[in-house]
Each structure stands twice: as C-alpha cells, then as structure tokens.
Assembly symmetry: C2
Homo-oligomer: 663 residues x 2
C-alpha cells in the first residue's frame, strides 16, 4: 500500500499514511482532533476541511455548499487520502462553557429530617481495640472485624485485599485507636446486616468532621457534579461542564456508533471519566478555598479535603447510553431493533473499578434505568419530581433528543421515549448550536414589517440559534403568518428576509454583517428543511403524551401538573412552546420547571438509602411503552405535524389568540 | 555525598554509587542478584564476594574464615562502598531442582463418590435464551441472570464489570446459545443460594468437556502445583519448583525481614507469583502434550487448555508467612511478640486480585490458618491426614523450620510450632544444603575404623549434607561413640577424621579431594557448633510433643499413630530419627509418612465444598499453644537436648540397642 505525506496547516508535523486513510484518522495521527459531532457519519458537516494541495477521494459532500466544494472543502470523516496532500483545518467550533450552568449554585435544601446515622449507608466508627498479647493472639483482621460488628450490629463485613494490606500498620500507628469507614449498602444476596469496609485510618476522627460524597449526573451534553457533606447533607459545591464525548458525537446515536468502532468504546469511557474527574478536582479545589469549611484539628485525609480521594461515596445517574459508555459496556444493542440495553440495574461498584478518581474503595452506585431510551436520569428525575408520591396525575418530561416522558401518580407510572432527535439541542438545524455564548435564545417578529429582534446569550454578536431560540422563532413565524399551519412559507409577504436559499425557502434573522461566524461569514437563517425537522421533533414529543394518556385510558385534560426537567427546560418560554404545540395547552400554573431533576434525584439517593430503594422501585414498576411498536403513535405523530396541531380543540388558548389576531 | 565507581567482574557495566551503599545494592543496580539466604542479616555467609581492588568498610565478617578475610572476602550484605572498587563475584550456589519432587507424579486417587454437580462450587450451565423482541425488551444481564437462576435454583447472582462488558456480544455470537460458568462458594454474608458469574461463553460446551482447576501449595522451600479436571476430579499433572523467594531468605524470618524493607514486600510477592505462574505454564504445557487429553469438538477456551487462563478455580495453601507474602500483606507482626498475623481467614479473591495468571475472574480460595506459625498448610494437612475424623489419638507433624505439631482426634485438636530453626533444611550448618544434587542424604560409620560411607543425591561427588543426611550422620556418630549423649566429641578415638577445625572440634566425612565444591574446595565436616544447632532443633520438636501431650493430660504412649507430613518426611530414616530423639520411640507400624499433606488437603478442598468447610472447622476448633509463653516448654526442651534424651525410659528401643552394642 502506497504511503503518502499528509500535512495539516495547524500541526507542526506531517504524517505518512497509506492510500485510503480517512482524513480524520490522519489528523488524529498528526495530533489534531477534528470534531465529529455526528460520530463520523457525514451527516453534520462540522468536520469540513480544505484541501489546499494534492488529492483526496470524497465519499460524500452532503452539507457542503457547491461554493465550498469548489473551494476544495471536503468532510474529513468522508474523505480518504490518495496522494500527498496539504490540508487547511478551519477554526473549529469551540465548546464554550454555558455561562449559566456552572458557577450559579442554586441553594439546595437538605431533605427535612435527614439523619445520617440511619439514612446514610456510609458510616464512620471510632474504635479503641484491646491490643494483642501472648494470651490473645487473634489476627488483626478478626480483632478489627469483631470490634466493628459489636459496635454497629453488623453481622458480616467484607474487606478487600488492598485494605487487608494496610490494616496491620494502621492499627499499630496510634496504639490500636482507629476510625473505620463502612458502607452498609445492600449488595445482591447480602444479608440485611452485612457491610463492607471502605477504609481504616489511624486515630479517632471527631464525630462532627465532614464525610464527603458526590452526586454525578452524566448528561449527553452536560455533566454535573455536586460535592456533598454526607454528615449534614449540605451541598457544598456544584460544577458543570460539557461532556468531553461531544467531540465524538453530539447525540447518543452518534456516540454509540463511534464507541462501536475499534477502540472507540475505551476512548468514550476515557473522555467522560476525564470530564467527571476534572469536575471533581474543581469542586474540591473550590471547597478548600472556602474558608468556612476549615475544620481545625482534623488532619485525617478523608475529612480534610486534600483531593478528590477524600470523597468516599458516589451516586451516578445519566441516560442508558451514558451509563454504558461510562462503564465501557458495549451500547450497540441500544441502537438496533429491538433496542435493548446490556444492563439496567448495574451492581454496586468501587471507584477503582469504575475509574473514578475518588477514594479507590468508595462505593459507586449507578442508579437503575428502565429501558434503552429511558434511563437512570428519568428514574432519578421522577423521584425528585415527587410524582411517584402524589395522588395528582402528573406529566413529567425531559425535553431533549430522546424526549423521555412519564405519565403517572403514586399508583401507576407509564413512560416512553419519543426519539425527537437533536433539533432542540441545535443539531440537525443549519444554524443550530448549543446554548453557549453567541446563541440566539429568544426572537420577536414585528407582525407588520416582519423585522426580527432577538436576545443573544453572553451579550455578543449572534452565531446561530439554540433550542429555546428556535421554539421562539417558530412560534413568532407562525403567529405573524410567515409560515402557515403546515410550516410552509408565505412567499408573498413584503420582506426580503423571506427568500430562496441553497436549501429552498428560508427566513433570514441576522444578516452576515451583524453575525459572528469567523472565517465563513453567513446570513443566519431558518430554512424550510429546518422547520420540517423542528415540526417532527415537537410532533414526536407531543405524540408521546398522547400515546401515554391513551395507554391508560385518560384524556390529556386529566393531567393535573406538567413537570419539566432537564437544564433545557429552564430556558423555554412556555407560552411559545404551547404555541408551536410542543407542550400541552394547560393553564400556566400547572407548569413546573424543576431544573436538573436527574442530579437532584442522585443527591437524594446519595444521602438516603430509603430514597435509593424508592428509585429502584420506580424503575421496576414503571411500564415502558415502545413507541416504534405502538400502532397509535404514527397517527398521533402525523396529527401533531402541524402548528400547533391538526386538532385545534387541543389548543384552545392558541386558537383564541389567533382569533384575536385575525379580528 | 561522593560517588564511586563500583565494578563487578560478572557484569558488563559498572555502576556509580554513593559512599555507604551496600555491595548487595550496588550489585542489584549492576543487574546482579547476590543470594541472601538469611535476608541480608550477615548470618549465613552465602553472599561472600572478593574485593579485588579498592576499598569497602565491612560491619561483620562472621562466617568467613581468617584466610578468606585475608584474601579480600567480605559479606556483600554487610560491606559498604567507600571508594572506587572492583568486585569478584564467586559462582553462586545454583538452585538445582530436586530430582525427586518434580516429574515423579504420584498417582492420586480421586475421592470416592466425588460428584461435581453437588460437591464442586464451580459449575458450567448451558442455556438457550429467548431472544429479545419488541414485546420483551428486558436487558441482556437480567435475561441471562433469570435464565441461570431458573436453571440452577440460585437466588442472587453477582457479576463483575468486565463480564458485563462482554455479555452483550457473547449472547449474540451464537444466537442466544451460551455456556455460563458459575461459582457458588459462599462469601461471608452471602445467602445460601447466591453465586457469582465467572464467565459466559458463546455456544454450548459439551457436558463432558473438562473443567480446569488447580491446587497450589506454597512451601517456604518448594512450591507445588497440581492441575485438576474438576469434572472427574482427576489430577492430570503435578509440578514442583523452588520458591524463587529463596534468593531473598531461606527461612520465613529472613523473608519477613526482607519484605519489611522498602519495596521488599512487592518483590517477594512478585517472586512467588513468578514461581506459581511458571509452574502453571509448565503443567498446562505438559497436559496439552499429553495426547490422551485431546478432546475433539471442544473449541472453547476454558475447556481446551490453551494457556493457564483456561483454569477457572484455584485453592491455595501454605504457611502464614507465605500467604501474607503471596498477597502483599505486611508480615512484620508475625515475627514480633506477641506474634500475630494480619489475617488468618482470607476472603475469597479473584485471580486478577491475587495476581494469578489463570482466568482473571476465577475464584482463588486461600485456605485458613490458625496462628503465626501454624498456617493453612497445617489446616489442610490435618484434613488430608484424616486425624480429625478418627477416634485414634494421632500426632501429626511437619518436620521443618517451624516444626508444626498437632495432637488430637475427632473430638479435640491442640497444636504448637516449635521454632526448630532451619537446621534440618540444611541452613545454620556449615556444610548444610538443601536436598539437591550433591547432597549427602544417608551416612554409615564403621564402629571400628570410624570411616564413613555415604549416599549422595544424583550419583555425583558430594557438596554437603541435607537434613536426612544430618540426622543419619548424628545417629551414627552417637551409636559409634564419636559423640556422647551431650553431643561432645570423644577426641581420643584413633582417627584423623576427628580434629580441631576453624570452629572447634569436627568430624570430617569427605576429604576435599573427593568433594565437589567449585573454586573453594574444602573438607566436608560436621562441627561441634553444627551438632549444637541440630540438638536444639530436634529438642524443640520433641519438647513440642511433650507440651501438647501434657496440655491435654495424656502420656506420650497414648499416641496411637504418628503422621509425618511435608516433603522432608519422605526422606527420613525413622530408625535414625528415633535414635537421635527427634521422633518418639513408638513401634514402627505406628509411623505413617504422608508426603505433601498440604497440597493434598488443598486438592480435597478444591474439589469438594464440604471438605473446604471441614478445613475451616479444623482451623477454628484447633487450640493453639504458644510455646514461648508456656512454662513447661523450657524444661521439656532442656531435657531433650541430649542424645536421644535425658530420660532414657522414653526411648526404650534405643536404650536396648545401646546395651546390645556394649555387650
């Protein structure tokens, strides 16, 4: 096989690769990671590079304009080397941190009546052992075990080899005075009084010294980490960061595809562990800088926050794909019919096994999921929403790619996932983007001039639309008549913003002179294709509600409260979401925006074993409805492919508003 | 600190070290491992090297003759560099393989009535699962777990993360036909119906395909490994090899000292793992060469012996120090009063945790010990001797450094360790050596001429005495009057073989012209100091019997059988051992030589969980008597410091023979 020199303008070295090597692979060898949000499927167009010299063969140039192709642009994930080449790598979209999710620490109330001695599975026990003598030559481990069991009532205690290695020296360091850390989580098959030794430390740690734990939510987009004092229940720090897997796919399907490639699974695992471990470093650093936490006379490494290894328990939630990728478990079967996970109830792990950089023996509790597209984030979300504990009929939804929806009350729970696609996360839309600096998050259109005004995240020039911006824009276009019920453009309106573009009719929101799109300045517009994608996404979500309600024989009006989880929910303008038919037309007071219900549920489970058991109960009693196997779904979906819906009686407030406009 | 060039004649490179560096350390840096049988304590003299140029300072030259010191010999473990030096390293004693312990496979009878379906904890189950469908989206692990539990009656099944990673692909490889391997050993706190998944493999492995296990005995000197087909119970291969830790100390005390040094514990662990893993490679290679084992149509990696990773269960025994060093657990407390171990009952481990190169998920069962100097080798030895299951009063002993002794019957068991020292293993005796090629193993002395004849292992010229040779020699010297009851030389006998040597009076067995001692030829003699050491060793063992008998109020004559375990036992001439007062004077038919009772016990425990439970029962009900805290021991020891004993009524047959000689 011939070898060819491949040079990249932003790399210091050229690489020699064989004919047929993908440009993304050659770039990787040259030390450049080109973002592949769609997982290298040639769908997203984000990996465009320019061939400035030499020859490549390109399988597909979908998503590139004729002009770009003429200028030598190719998709790096679709183009293979067939001679010496020079490649220009344009500045990649930077993953800027969402400004609102990181430092803004919401005050989280400690659950009323939290009692660590009863609720918490991790406990600290101080012991003063009788030293061995010629009359009592009991071995160190039996001596320690007996003392712990006597003091705690635990019947059987498990211990790992690394701990057996340290017991002898630790017992003797402060003359047989030690502090043991135990976990009494119930492993499968364990008796009710069994426990596991997590650590043993010399001397007596004061009873009020903190005991550190963490709740982790692995979102497809954002990973959130809370640092918690398990003794008081207090959330001491919060931090969030983009999931570093994003560079290998923006949605779960792209990530499964990438992970299924040779070595991809290990890379995905490494990327999310990097993200979590980085966040743990950050919360620990911030907490140690916080002078209120200085505890004098506490020198023990597990109480004084020296590093994340002071953390001795973690509870993790996330959707089923995120959980599989975190643990390096193949996720391929999630994507393929009949859509099954490898595992929903993950056994209790140690941090060492899971790869978390906290105390290696710390229990790591991955919360249980329900199905391939209804994961532990939903089990945890239902718990923290409280919908499983009220007589009210509630609709719980996490608006996003998977559109997980739960309908139920204390007596019953049904759930489905709508496969809405990533349109509301800014993908699959020409000028879509995540809700970062430069994203348009709200739009208003003048109903006479059709001129838009907009609000941009970060008070800068706009780059594109995030999900809430798209909802807002679509509602305004509908209400001002720019598009009709079917989403078709009214091309006869007196404005140059409605025009024929490369992909058909479009509406221009920002002229290129006012935009901020780097080396390839462009008008920021929404196209007919984009609108179709958005209609399909919102129709899928709304059809999900319909199917759930029908499955239990309830009319939609029976829903007494709509609980919206997920970070995205916080930014939605409900009125506009109702206007496009994304959310059901219910009085405003019935809507509740709960923020990140997933991490909140993990926090409750981290603190209280009864809450943990409740999540397991939620996961096992929730009835999952597979929409792709449900006959009524397609009909409900088709009826919902309109603004706001074919059946306007379902949207009385929108009908009323339109009548008002027309009058 | 000044740097000095240190050159070794057998190394290609010189090293630069600071003033004060030990020669052993400098040698290590130069890639030369100098044997330190005493653990670098300056006691054994085996690490002698010759300074041919330059300057060292030596803390001790104990064990070196004045002549050697004059020739520049120093002990490498006691001499530090203080200038540039050139060092001559004499040929080290090679650890030649004992000819009789390796290839000679004794026929081991499979226990009568062995039924793997009931007795064996490791089981293979073939399953044909119902594939998932849109109507049954159960996750892979639940599907597999349910099928296993239904077929086996197991209630709860544990699974590791590495297995969760492979389940999905394996289930789909042969269309939901799989073979699961389970371990139903009872972990502490586990319910009676819990189990653990060891592996899952595609397709159905035939019911009669072998299932591989191994029994391992870690002796201080020799490590033995048996390869066993767990389905038939058959011992397919045996191999033994010197424990590679020997180069870092010949006895357990030296090894504890070495392991307590920085990095020493990890090195010791590595050396014994190397030994075991090397033996596993060897038995597997031999078994695969054995054509009788070819099983057609069995392509599965756990049945076809491809490598030691086909082995899916290990049972390990050994004394307490060997167990601690195997697992990297600090053993320092074993050596120091009040002599306690870190752990006697080691939890069930996996091969991955233990470091064994068998199937990483294989259960590794380390058998329980009783005390610092009465380990799992004795628990296992008592089991395989059967003394815990008979009405007869039995004396079980393992003659060696620790002189472990057990007295008892089915109703009671008492035990002690005599700290005999390593004299019977050839250490602490000037011309002592292990029972390898060149060791004198039996001596006869002409009672008129005082000329000896002898038998040498391997039919070669002699190098020294092994333990059985020393017993034989001492008995002959006593019976021919060369030494008296107290071990003192009769210096008036008409032979030039009794002479004054460098260490006082000695008896020359081999003149240097007939010996085979390499570059430092020497007469092979036994000295007054050697005899004192042997007397102390045999007195300690005999005094142990006395104390045990006294502790239960029985006369020694009540002992109905004497069971001798350990490889050494096989080579002892009982008559001579009685003559020197090492063994009690009981009719010959009461002596039973059982060979390696330790590995045999491990083999029984490997096969049968009832036998494993019986070993745990033996370990917990055996009463340990600490001799160093026992007032009667010193008196019994002092009385036994004579040939054969102060109280000749205890040795009627010897008294009778002496009367016969005198008549």
């Amino acid at each position: 096989m011939a070898e060819h020199i491949t040079a990249f303008d932003i790399s210091e070295k050229s690489v020699s690769v064989t004919t047929g090597t993908l440009l993304t692979e050659a770039a990787h060898e040259a030390g450049i990671d080109i973002a592949q949000p769609c997982g290298g499927q040639g769908r997203c167009g984000r990996c465009a590079v320019q061939v400035t010299d030499g020859s490549v063969r390109s399988r597909s140039t979908l998503r590139l304009s004729a002009e770009d192709v003429a200028r030598g642009y190719v998709l790096a994930c679709q183009a293979v080397v067939e001679g010496d080449v020079n490649i220009h790598v344009p500045p990649q979209e930077k993953l800027e941190r969402r400004l609102t999710t990181d430092r803004t620490v919401a005050e989280v109330a400690v659950p009323a009546g939290y009692n660590p001695a009863v609720d918490q599975t991790v406990r600290r026990v101080t012991l003063t052992l009788t030293p061995p003598s010629m009359d009592d030559q009991t071995d160190d481990w039996s001596r320690l075990q007996t003392a712990i069991c006597q003091k705690t009532g635990i019947g059987e205690l498990q211990v790992s080899l690394p701990l057996l290695r340290k017991i002898g020296p630790v017992l003797r360091e402060e003359e047989w005075r030690v502090t043991a850390v135990l976990d009494v989580s119930q492993p499968p098959g364990g008796s009710e009084t069994s426990g596991r030794l997590v650590d043993v430390l010399p001397g007596h740690i004061p009873a009020d010294a903190p005991l550190w734990g963490t709740a982790v939510d692995i979102g497809t987009t954002t990973v959130s980490v809370w640092l918690v004092n398990l003794l008081t229940g207090q959330v001491v720090q919060q931090a969030a960061e983009y999931n570093r897997q994003i560079r290998r796919g923006e949605d779960v399907i792209s990530r499964i595809i990438y992970a299924s490639k040779n070595g991809g699974g290990e890379e995905m695992r490494g990327l999310v562990l990097e993200t979590i471990n980085g966040l743990l470093e950050r919360v620990v650093k911030r907490a140690t800088r916080d002078s209120r936490l200085e505890t004098e006379n506490v020198q023990s490494p597990i109480s004084n926050l020296q590093s994340p290894t002071s953390i001795i328990k973690a509870t993790i939630t996330g959707n089923s794909v995120m959980m599989h990728l975190l643990l390096g478990i193949p996720a391929a079967s999630i994507r393929l019919s009949p859509f099954v996970t490898a595992v929903n109830h993950i056994p209790l792990l140690t941090a060492k096994e899971a790869g978390l950089a906290i105390h290696p023996e710390a229990p790591v509790d991955c919360l249980p999921g329900i199905a391939s597209y209804v994961g532990a984030d939903i089990s945890a979300g239902v718990l923290s929403s409280g919908m499983d504990d009220t007589e009210k009929v509630s609709l719980f939804m996490d608006i996003g790619t998977n559109g997980e929806t739960v309908l139920g009350s204390q007596d019953w729970l049904v759930t489905c996932a709508c496969s809405a696609g990533p349109a509301f996360e800014g993908a699959g839309v020409q000028h879509g983007m995540r809700a970062t600096r430069g994203a348009i998050e709200e739009v208003w259109i003048n109903s006479s001039t059709y001129e838009p005004t907009y609000r941009v995240i970060g008070d800068t020039r706009p780059k594109g639309f995030c999900g809430s911006g798209l909802i807002s824009l679509l509602a305004e276009m509908f209400l001002t008549g720019i598009v009709d019920k079917g989403g078709n453009f009214n091309t006869s309106l007196p404005t140059n913003r409605i025009r024929q573009g490369a992909h058909g009719w479009e509406y221009v929101v920002v002229w290129s002179k006012d935009s901020n799109n780097g080396s390839r300045p462009d008008d920021i517009a929404i196209t007919h294709v984009d609108i179709d994608n958005l209609l399909r996404a919102k129709a899928a979500i709304y059809a999900g509600f319909m199917v759930l309600a029908k499955s239990v024989g309830l009319p939609l009006e029976a829903v007494e409260q709509v609980l919206i989880g997920g970070a995205f929910g916080k930014y939605i303008n409900v009125e506009k979401a109702v206007e496009i038919g994304l959310l059901p037309d219910t009085p405003w007071e019935n809507f509740h925006f709960l923020g990140n219900t997933s991490v909140l549920g993990a926090y409750y489970a981290l603190l209280d074993q009864k809450q943990r058991a409740r999540i397991a109960d939620i996961a096992s009693r929730m009835t999952y409805i597979e929409l792709s196997a449900d006959n009524s779904f397609f009909e409900a979906f088709t009826s919902a492919l309109f603004l706001p819906h074919t059946d306007m009686t379902l949207f009385p407030s929108v009908a009323k508003e339109m009548m008002k406009d027309e009058s």
